[in-house]
Subunit: 142 residues, 2 copies
DNA sequence: TATTGTTATACTCTATAACTATA
DNA sequence: TATAGTTATAGAGTATAACAATA
């Protein structure tokens, strides 16, 4: 009645999601290393590129992170030269976070690398299986 | 060229996996609250029930956690009365971690609650979709 | 010498509270 | 008064190093 030791864990959805995510995060981190970014920082750049202008708070909300977390994230990206803080003329309380030329360039290249890694990661599922997995995850959370 | 703001994140596999996992973890935690457990602790109980005897180190390896992490995990479960440490007679360096009666009882009930939550969580995918998602994740990591 | 469990310590990630400047 | 950004701080979660007991 105890269950098969070999799948007591792999039968758990939580375990599967966690370890799938860990494996992907590691693979993405390796692929992005040449660009001096991790996946989370790349997501910040992508959010900033997709919508303009975006204040720190607005960007944080899009990303689902706390505004204090966003401060550190922008600090890092600014140190790396990928973004710049600019005071909003309309509301001087706000920082508009702007991609630099290097930021845009790195975003484009790093996004391509991320796409490749994701495709490799999902390769075991076949083309159709990969598409279905993404669709399923979007249905659950997107 | 920047991409649609609405799916710059939901098009990222890492984001989808992370947020799916966060949502499930929260749902499982809520469901297990009456049992005084979280999903990770329940996984420990399940591993211990599936294979016996298991030392702390062996259990930690099954779970993929550090042995120092395992110490704290067993401490908590022991405080809650779900497991007991027993010195191995064959090798007195080892702690055999044993489920108590309360541990076995709680394991059974909590596993049922976890199963229900997972089914509800996956309900938007339909029966077939849910089975396929789990199969896909197992193919990627299991 | 090597292994198991333990403790102390540190590091990452994140959130809460309090401060500042602006509105 | 309320909001945006910042800082300080604290809480999880986890890993590394060192130690005690045992092999």
């Amino acid at each position: 009645m105890a269950g098969d030791p070999s799948d007591v864990l792999t039968g758990r959805l939580g375990y599967l999601l966690k370890h799938t995510q860990l494996a992907l995060t590691a693979a993405v981190a390796r692929a992005l290393e040449p660009f001096g970014l991790d996946g989370r920082e790349l997501a910040v750049l992508a959010v900033l590129a997709a919508e303009y202008p975006l204040s720190q708070l607005a960007a944080a909300e899009r990303l689902g992170v706390d505004r204090t977390t966003m401060v550190a994230l922008v600090d890092v990206l600014e140190d790396k030269g990928f973004v710049e803080r600019r005071r909003s003329p309309e509301d001087r309380r706000k920082n508009i976070v702007e991609l630099t030329e290097a930021g845009r360039d790195t975003l484009e290249k790093a996004e391509r690398a991320r796409g490749e890694v994701e495709r490799e990661f999902l390769a075991p599922l076949g083309k159709g299986g990969a598409v279905k997995l993404v669709a399923a995850l979007r249905a659950l959370v997107g």
